[in-house]
């Protein structure tokens, strides 16, 4: 494997990791506040649809982004209503949201665009364009680092950089602000937050809303950043992978970056080597496609210790019964 190939794989990994990273951070906010969310997939899908639909209709990717976020937020609202206000089962609510998104996106898409639930292809300002980072051209000649900067880091859509920025931002919000302190507390011991005179419900809704915004970004990136239209079920299980990454990352922002990047990297590698000839045996494509998942299990078993979820996670906060 030469340097250029490595760069290309890293470049691809970064793109593939971005939606996972958004979704993973989304889940991080929610679960840190004690609300489990297996509905990441559905929210991403909803956002993908509304961002593409709006971007197409208005010709503005930014309006699309807002609409995508709004779509995802509506589902967050349902999740909040079910799991915070009415103290329902968070897993069931998540499952319902995934179903709801997968049905609604196509239904609405059918009635709006009559394209089989798909949106028309986006063009020009209706989609995010790649950004060249400053000096990318100039630095590309510098050995080793130059290509890394100009090939791997530069040239992505703005959402990729937003996602990367979200990592320190999330870390900062969680660990350096009052809001973050309270949010983490409410996921560990809501009674402590309650008796400290802070609204558990308010905090949890805030967390779920942030989760919605980030899922919105993830979905918008899929449909208007990486792709250029909505296709039904286009999230293709990425919400579940993000969930796995979140556990892998032990609910921590920087680890979330590493975990999602690892998933992106493994997928990029298996894309690059659809079947691998080892000389004595050729690994079939199915094996290479399963490789990211197999390696995840291996890494998880070998190198990552026990992950302790937020203590109050998944449990509705009930004072009186």
């Amino acid at each position: 494997m030469d340097y250029l190939t490595i760069l290309q794989i890293l470049d691809s990994a970064l793109r593939l990791a971005t939606p996972l990273l958004f979704a993973c951070l989304a889940g991080l906010f929610s679960e840190r506040a004690g609300i489990f969310d297996i509905g990441l997939e559905g929210k991403m899908l909803m956002a993908a649809f509304f961002s593409a639909a709006t971007a197409y209709s208005t010709g503005s990717v930014w309006l699309g982004l807002l609409a995508g976020i709004a779509g995802s937020l509506v589902l967050s609202g349902i999740h909040g209503l079910a799991s915070i206000t009415f103290r329902g089962n968070q897993l069931i609510s998540g499952v319902a949201i995934n179903f709801l998104a997968s049905g609604l996106t196509v239904l609405i898409g059918l009635s709006w665009f009559k394209l089989g639930g798909q949106t028309p292809a986006l063009q020009g300002d209706a989609r995010f364009q790649g950004l060249d980072l400053p000096f990318a051209e100039a630095l590309s000649g510098v050995p080793v680092f130059g290509p890394l900067y100009s090939e791997v880091l530069s040239g992505h859509t703005i959402l990729v950089y937003v996602a990367l920025l979200c990592v320190p931002l999330t870390w900062y919000v969680l660990f350096r602000t009052r809001f973050g302190l309270r949010l983490r507390a409410v996921g560990e011991n809501p009674a402590a937050v309650d008796t400290a005179g802070i609204s558990v419900v308010g905090l949890r809704y805030a967390a779920v809303a942030i989760c919605g915004v980030l899922c919105g970004l993830a979905g918008a990136y899929l449909a208007t950043g990486l792709g250029a239209s909505f296709v039904k079920e286009m999230t293709a299980g990425r919400g579940y992978i993000a969930l796995a990454a979140l556990i892998f990352a032990k609910w921590r922002p920087w680890y979330a970056l590493y975990a999602t990047f690892l998933f992106g990297l493994l997928e990029a590698i298996s894309n690059r080597y659809p079947s691998l000839d080892l000389g004595f045996v050729t690994l079939p494509s199915q094996f290479m496609q399963a490789l990211p998942y197999i390696l995840t299990v291996v890494i998880l078993a070998g190198f990552v210790g026990k992950a302790t979820p937020p203590r109050a996670g998944g449990e509705p906060y009930v004072k009186e019964r």
Binding site: E233, N271, R272
Partner: protein, 308 residues
């Protein structure tokens, strides 16, 4: 009235189901008649839909997809007065018309064009899932490419192993980029909705792509080299036009009877020179005449020009 049953992918799968739907719609528009239709959600519904439509008097009943083979085998005998048309599969029964396509022939042609167009001598293939039908596409494509230029390298990727593989444009795009970085400058997608991502990315990255099943040239004018046409729409249209008493039996749709082919229109006119078109048409003629044999993967389950 006729009826049509779409496979699990749904009638808007950007692939044969959609082509079938288009054929049926064309028939309905032209004749002003109606047809019954259903999109399956579960394997168990195949037989159910067949029987229910047959009992409700629909005739003929058309089904899109090889997966109906077994179910139709069970059902056909029970409704001798109903005509069935199955696409992509052979079912041997007196009231069944089996329509199969020589996708390998069409793929050969577009592979030939791809290799002719490629400046890097590298062309790509992106399939939805590693299943025999897709191998048939890939194998013909590779043979065509190598026929045009023996030095051509063919890179092939399959998208995935779950149903999501057919609806993952993002992954399609990423596979395209991976192939581009390995030098491919023409990619052929046979992957349903995933293919949309392939065509999109190819257009974005300034290489050419090849559409599949229906004419997808219009999706990115000037950037889609051509499309491998598999005229499922015609097959459905004909079936519905022929009506209840249609002629049954084995029906091969190949280059010879315009069952497969490559798409030319205003969107790709500038990409395909007259000279190139002439060569390709000559190749097509040779295939029809038998001077060129395109290897059918299904004939012996092997592919001389590509390993999977």
């Amino acid at each position: 009235d006729p009826a049509i049953i779409f496979d699990l992918g749904g009638k808007f799968d950007k692939s044969f189901n959609e082509a079938a739907f288009n054929g049926a719609t064309r028939w309905a528009e032209e004749t002003g008649n109606k047809f019954a239709e259903v999109e399956l959600q579960s394997d168990a519904q195949r037989e159910q839909a067949l029987r229910r439509f047959a009992e409700a008097g629909s005739n003929p009943i058309v089904m899109a997809g090889f997966a109906f083979g077994n179910a139709l085998g069970e059902v056909a005998g029970d409704y001798p007065d109903t005509s069935f048309v199955i696409i992509d599969m052979v079912v041997d029964a007196p009231n069944v018309r089996s329509v199969v396509f020589n996708e390998h022939e069409g793929s050969y042609l577009v592979g030939y064009m791809a290799a002719q167009t490629s400046k890097t001598n590298t062309v790509g293939f992106i399939g939805g899932m590693d299943i025999p039908l897709i191998r048939k596409f890939a194998c013909g494509y590779a043979q065509g490419a190598k026929a045009a230029n023996p030095d051509t390298k063919v890179i092939s990727n399959m998208t995935g192993t779950t149903g999501a593989a057919w609806n993952d444009p993002v992954k399609g795009g990423e596979l395209t980029r991976a192939q581009i970085s390995q030098g491919a400058d023409v990619v052929y997608a046979a992957a349903g909705g995933t293919g949309l991502g392939v065509l999109q990315t190819a257009a974005d990255e300034g290489i050419l792509s090849i559409g599949v099943d229906s004419n997808q040239n219009f999706l990115h004018p000037g950037k889609v080299l051509t499309s491998m046409m598999k005229r499922v729409d015609n097959a459905v249209y004909n079936a519905m036009k022929d009506g209840p008493g249609l002629e049954t039996g084995f029906n091969v749709m190949g280059l010879a009877n315009d069952g497969v082919g490559y798409a030319m229109d205003e969107h790709n006119a500038d990409l395909v020179s007259d000279e190139m078109k002439a060569t390709v048409d000559a190749v097509a003629a040779k295939i029809i005449s038998g001077d060129i044999t395109v290897h059918d993967y299904m004939s012996d389950e092997s592919c001389p020009s590509l390993t999977f």
